[in-house]
Amino acid sequence: MSSNLPRRRFIQGSAVIAALSAAAACSRGDSNNPGGGASAVSTADFTGTGPITWVQGKDNSDGKVQERIDQWNELYPDEKVTLIELSSEADQQRQSLINNAQTQSDAYDVISIDNVWVAEFAANQWVVPLPADELKNDDIIESVWETGLYRDVLYGMPFATDSSIMFYRKDFLQEAGVEVPTTWDEVKSAIDAVRALPGHENIGGFGGQFAKYEGLTCCASEFINTAGGSFYDDEGNVTINSPEAIAGLQILIDGFKDGYIPAESLEWKEEDGRNAFEAGNLLFYRQWPYQYANNLAALGEEKFGVAALPTIDGKAFVPTLGGHNCGISTYSKNKATALKFVQWWTSQESEQYALETQTLAPILGSLYEDSEMLEKFPYLPTLRESLDSAQGRPKAVAYGDVTAAIQDALYPAVQQQATAEEAISNLETSLKALA
């Protein structure tokens, strides 16, 4: 029964059970009105020190996050930070964070939000505006910094970033005597050359995450952005229906049609493609840098390499920016401590720690040039190049609807069930309906 009920009603319903007062629930006097209302914008006051919580998705690094937090707790025993781990699934993390905000709970103080949620969390005033002048420095990569802004106000301080790069099978390319391709045409001829070799006739070409989920939004919009198309202009008007966007999508559709992008990748999320790549069934793979460590363990240095994604028709590839930002919950009681923690959590030392222990891409440019880091992570210059040209996803308050509309419109096209023109025009209609 409960699954059929809208969640907030259900939350209230549960509260009713707890309180045994049905009357309280019936009063519609908006209990979900964030305290300060509109005035909270300018005057987020960072007062209150004491214990706080740091809330993020599941830590897959074997307790490295807790170790770092322990260091803070030693430094500031009166302002202890407790780690709260949420689900490893992004959707469920968002649900937990929204539930917490709507019940105005002070259980979460500093929260890790995916950078595409910044607009939604800011517009709903679930997080407070942060003092940009205290957090900004020249070392922070500009495109990364901008992911934290909503209407030019900083709401989410980036602490880890992410951008796509191209993994390739070094051994297969060497066998075929082909150089690492830098253009889309070279990618295609490299695939042809490897397929000409005995034993590789059926190798998948250029893989990506084209299953109908967030990955499709990232991967497909890279083709559209690379061709010069865009989803919105700076004023938030829908600009998707342009010849450039159609051309970009057409290149992707043709990739599937001509067999350069394997049809299997229509069901691939990150790990499915990585398995195919490591099993030798895929020559090129567009992926996030985290794959590097896995490849190193599975294949060894000799068998794979990392390069920038190829230019298409002479235009530099525009990767999609991922990454996570720190937000401070509106309902946090100890905002002064929270802000201090955010500063510490995004400091040079912390960023380096996160890179070394969890291979999170740092937000600070200097770490990409640090010789010690370069030795450990030789893909850093490629990643930096990708970050500099990367573009964030649309900054929409209702981002869930926007990405759903993108997936609904583009998936039939990559399945060869709709033309590029039809898909783009459908997308324009649904994006305009959302505005």
């Binding site: 029964m1 699954s3 059929n4 009920l5 809208p6 969640r7 907030r8 009603r9 259900f10 209230q12 319903g13 009713v16 059970i17 045994l20 049905a22 629930a25 019936c26 519609r28 908006d30 979900n32 009105n33 964030p34 209302g37 509109a38 914008v41 959707d91 968002r94 649900q95 929204i98 800011a122 517009a123 709903n124 005033q125 909503y150 209407r151 299953a211 109908k212 989920y213 049809a263 299997e264 229509l266 069901e267 499915d272 308050v397 209702a398 869930g400 609807d401 759903a404 997936q407 609904d408 399945q415």
Partner: protein
């Protein structure tokens, strides 16, 4: 029945019956309170919520408004107009899964029950083995079947094909149906088995002597006698199937038109903070399930109050609440049951 006999007792009894009625209320009050809190209040809250829209964005400040606008029945009308194709696809999927899985599960379940009912060695083991799929949580079995229907999964290996189960339309539906039947046929099997076990062997022996063959015995004896149990099992399964959410959500994924059900629409709307329209979808689903259950019980004459077949009558006997009280005057068993009938008939007159 002559009322004269009872005349001297009328006052005492009506007083007793008032006390009885008070006690009845007292005893069912906790149930009513619980039902009110967990069902009736939420349903009315949903109803109320479904009349409100999503708060708008203030173009000046860029903040979401504090107040949800009252939109009347807009959420309902938009389900059948703007979002129509999505809703009808989901309604069709819901119905398809509901009908197909339950029909297959019933056939398989009855077959399983007949097998389990046979006296054989290791019967306990067979029963336990059949129960395993039902014992696995749906979410877990969805993940397991997700691996099976993976491109490189067992299903393709066995078939020697390269079917992309999740991205197809018919193949995705088929995957859901297979996984659901696998999981829940045992449930119907077990409930049917319980029904089978109350059929006395003599009936079959008599039929055999009369020359009825196995099929005749199955259709004329087994099915009618097992029907009350079977009907309850099928009804429960059908209600579950119509609310199907976790299996398609995990096995195929959210927002896949091929397997989207109404429950998934509710979740999707709620996760995008459109609680009004989510409530509207939820109520439509509620209504759909309710109508289905009502029609089903009417058509099959299911007696949900009792699982064992009852002979004739139709009117159920009510047990007086006073049987739970220490009686001032201990009565003989026969007298008590007489009283019961008298009271029942008296109350039905007034």
């Amino acid at each position: 029945m002559s009322t004269n006999i009872y005349v001297p007792d009328v006052n005492r009894r009506s007083k007793a019956s008032r006390a009885q009625s008070r006690l009845a209320w007292l005893l069912i009050t906790p149930t009513i309170i619980v039902l009110t809190i967990v069902i009736i209040v939420p349903v009315f809250q949903s109803l109320q919520q479904s009349l409100y829209g999503k708060p708008g964005l203030d173009p000046e400040t860029g903040f979401v408004s504090d107040v949800e606008p009252f939109v009347g029945l807009d959420n309902y009308t938009s389900i059948f107009t703007d979002a129509g194709s999505r809703f009808w696809t989901a309604a069709w999927n819901t119905t398809l899964f509901g009908v197909v899985t339950v029909v297959l599960e019933t056939i398989l379940g009855v077959a399983m029950a007949l097998i389990m009912h046979r006296a054989m060695r290791g019967r306990g083991f067979v029963r336990a083995a059949i129960l395993v799929p039902w014992a696995i949580p749906t979410a877990v079995s969805a993940i397991l079947w997700g691996w099976i229907f993976n491109q490189n999964g067992v299903a393709n290996a066995i078939l020697g094909q390269h079917i992309m189960w999740a991205s197809g339309n018919a193949s995705a539906k088929l995957a859901i149906i297979i996984a659901d039947v696998w999981k829940t046929a045992p449930y119907i099997g077990l409930l049917t088995l319980a029904g089978l076990q109350v059929i006395p062997d003599e009936v079959y022996e008599a039929a055999k002597i009369d020359g009825a063959n196995a099929w005749k015995r199955f259709t004329k004896i087994t099915l009618p006698l097992v029907k009350p149990a079977l009907v309850v099992a099928v009804l429960f399964r059908a209600l579950d199937a119509l609310r199907m959410f976790d299996l398609p959500y995990i096995l195929i994924g959210p927002r896949k038109n091929s397997v989207e059900t109404i429950s998934m629409l509710v979740q999707d709307e709620a996760s995008n903070l459109r609680y009004g329209s989510a409530a509207a979808y939820a109520l439509i689903l509620f209504l759909y399930v309710f109508i289905f259950a009502f029609a089903f019980t009417r058509i099959t004459h299911a007696d949900l109050g009792a699982t064992a077949p009852r002979s004739g009558g139709g009117r159920r006997r009510k047990l007086p609440a006073t049987v739970f009280l220490p009686q001032g005057r201990p009565a003989a068993v026969g007298a008590t049951s007489d009283n019961t009938i008298a009271r029942t008939s008296e109350r039905s007159k007034s």
